[in-house]
């Protein structure tokens, strides 16, 4: 049973992959086509119910809800992608460096990491955007910064395990430098773990972007964002619950899809789960 599971994504993983794929396709399509201009207002036609012209109705300014949801997918994915990229781009090298160097450098990086973990991520993101001013770029910075320690920690943990493997020892005996070993041997061996982690962080980043936009700290009008759609729909809950339910569903579906995909990928890619299903992760990584 374990044998089959690790070879494929599994049912849940496939559902996750399909959902994520669908959201990405919608976001890509929105680059070239949406039923209406998502920012075009038509006050005379506000709060209209679903119709042929507006399959999901319109909001309080008469903007087409379907077009807004599509454009919102694009913004969510773009912000999260850049933010996670930023986190991985800084965190992975830091983790590799810490694992390769050990000693005081490792200590310094990891203690800084602990420090960053001590601050609640979303609250600090709120602080950063409050200081730098609201906007998509600052939201990316805020979310990205809080991905750095996550990636640094995961990378270091996985890399340390690889450093103990015989082929790394062989490479060291052959006289290769730590940097080369990190890039040629360690990184490829922990790539699976990192991809899984990136998927999960991506889901969290989408939530964080929606949360910041909901609080008015994320992307600003006329740019569309699921979080801001939720916020704007708040006072219309009794009048047009559809306006809150649709972006809420979009967030839920996207995040759920990414989480399922992450789980599936993890079963397939994480080298710490061997085909016999025995957990050989180092003791430190087993908590949680």
């Amino acid at each position: 049973m374990a044998e089959r599971r690790v070879r494929t994504l599994g049912t849940a993983g496939r559902v996750g992959a399909a959902t994520t794929g669908a959201v990405v396709v919608v976001a890509l399509v929105s680059l070239v086509w949406t039923p209406h201009d998502p920012a075009a207002m038509d006050v005379a036609n506000k709060l209209a119910g679903p119709s042929l012209a507006h399959p999901l109705g319109t909001d309080h300014f008469g903007r087409d809800t379907l077009s807004q949801l599509m454009a919102g997918a694009r913004v969510s994915i773009a912000v999260s992608l850049v933010a996670v990229g930023l986190g991985a781009g800084l965190g992975v090298p830091l983790g590799l460096l810490a694992a390769a160097r050990r000693g005081w450098l490792d200590e310094a990086v990891m203690r800084l990491n602990d420090l960053a973990f001590a601050f609640p991520a979303l609250l600090t993101a709120v602080l950063i955007t409050a200081l730098l001013g609201p906007g998509a770029i600052n939201a990316i910075l805020a979310i990205g910064l809080f991905n750095v320690p996550v990636f640094a920690r995961v990378t270091r943990g996985a890399a340390l395990a690889v450093w103990k493997r015989p082929f790394v020892l062989a490479a060291r005996l052959a006289g290769r430098g730590r940097a080369r070993i990190s890039l040629d041997h360690v990184l490829p061996n922990i790539a699976g773990t990192l991809i899984v982690q990136a998927t999960i962080q991506f889901a969290l980043a989408i939530l964080a972007e929606a949360g910041l936009s909901y609080l008015g700290l994320g992307s600003q009008p006329p740019e569309v964002s699921w979080g801001r759609m939720l916020n704007e729909a708040q006072t219309f809950l009794f009048l047009e619950p559809r306006l809150a339910i649709l972006p809420g569903l979009a967030i839920v579906v996207t995040v759920l899809g990414l989480n399922l995909l992450g789980d599936g990928l993890r079963d397939r890619l994480d080298p710490r789960l061997d085909p016999q299903g025995v957990d050989r992760r180092p003791a430190g990584a087993r908590r949680g």
């Binding site: 207002m41 979303l122 969290l204 600003q220 006329p222 839920v252 949680g288």
Partner: protein, 505 residues
Amino acid sequence: MVLPLPRARRRAATALAALAVAALTALPGPATAGPPDTLVMGMVLEPPHLDPTAGAAAAIDEVVYANVFEGLTRIGPDGSVQPALAERWEISDDGLTYTFHLRRDVTFHDGTAFTADDAVFSLQRALADDSVNAQKGLFAAIDSVAALDGYTLVVGLSRPEGRLLYNLGWGDAVMVGLESADTNKTRPIGTGPFRFVRWVQGDRVELEAFPDFWGPAPALSAATFRFIPDPAAALAAMLAGDVDAYANFPAPEGLAILEEDARFAVVVGTTEGETILALNHRRPPLDDPRVRRAIGHAIDRNTLIDGAMFGYGTPIGSHFAPHHPAYVDLTDRSPHDPERARALLAEAGIAPGDLRLTLHLPPPSYARRSGELIAAQLGAVGVAVEIIPVEWAQWLDQAFRGHDFDMTIVAHTEPLDIDIYARDDYYFGYDNPAFDALMATLQSTRDTAARADLYRQAQTILAEDAVNGFLFQLAKLGVWDARLSGLWRDSPVQANDLTGVSWQP
């Protein structure tokens, strides 16, 4: 299947998910009616403190005016001047001496008697060089204040002031006690029908009936002002019966629901709130009247009222309240005409897409929603707008005091405040000596017809100069329990006068 993630991260994720769907779960609770002699009044903003003579915040007056504090005169529900702590008065023929006869049976909430000495103290405190009064202009004409005897006050003016009796009815001119003035910010002591009980910061202010009030005892035994900044929460609180009345309901979109519900009365009245798109004249090209006119022509007021205010509001073409007798409708000076807007911009040498302006938006929905619509309307004539949402503190700091803005939307809620356009170094930076001279003439004119004529001229100058984008007059959206009577329909001053409020059986 559990991921090697720190637990706190996942908990943060859960909290975020909860946040994302929180909007879906705000459902009304069971309706409960309050006891028939107390009142819970909802307000959007919490006052910074409770001394109306030391702050400009409207929320202060909305709690204490006519309830806790009274002045020599007061403004009635229709905007007229009525006697309050001064029973009657005489004005000398030259208009320079006012003699006020004070009520003899008035006591402060701390038990001390109100006499002419307190009145002299109150006015001198407002007039003093170190006065922190937010509306010192109200008292500018006053030259001397003296007590003739314990209950007679003589006020001497340096020039005739047509609005003195009206000015003395403002919340900023209320009478305070010699003994208690210093602590009014946290423990207000006035002469009104209600005395202060306690203030739970961030939540509510409680008042109770004052047994030794000089006038007829109010029908309510106690009143609570609750501060609910979120419009969605305001609607939920109203539907749930947690709040009995909102004098200024913050969510116009919710009125349709409340109107259908027989438990509530929806009363739409007028306010003194001219909502304007303020333009910073210090920043080129906004110093060019053609550019300002172009902005005026780009704006479609009816769309703003419909889209941002759900139809509640009256278009204005200058800085003046439409319900005032001296009002002139000048909206035809800046009709919605995108073609003309483009032509004017071209005339000013601005190519489409060349002009980028920032738009600072304070939190109220009238500003945020109008702002989004205006950004789209200006975009249609080739002016790119960057929206910058700000909190009130930031707005006061950056836009109002720091003059660091291109455009901003705000409602000026003081009555008859057209004279702000004559102020030196006011935030939008308008400077027109002809207008200043007109305001000076107005100040010394007492004849009503002559004053009305001057007001008309002033309105026309502002419309001709296209000083700001004049948008609409805010409507007062009152919502309260249908069994309540005595709340004001209009708001000629910022006040929630509870003196005459009662529950009908």
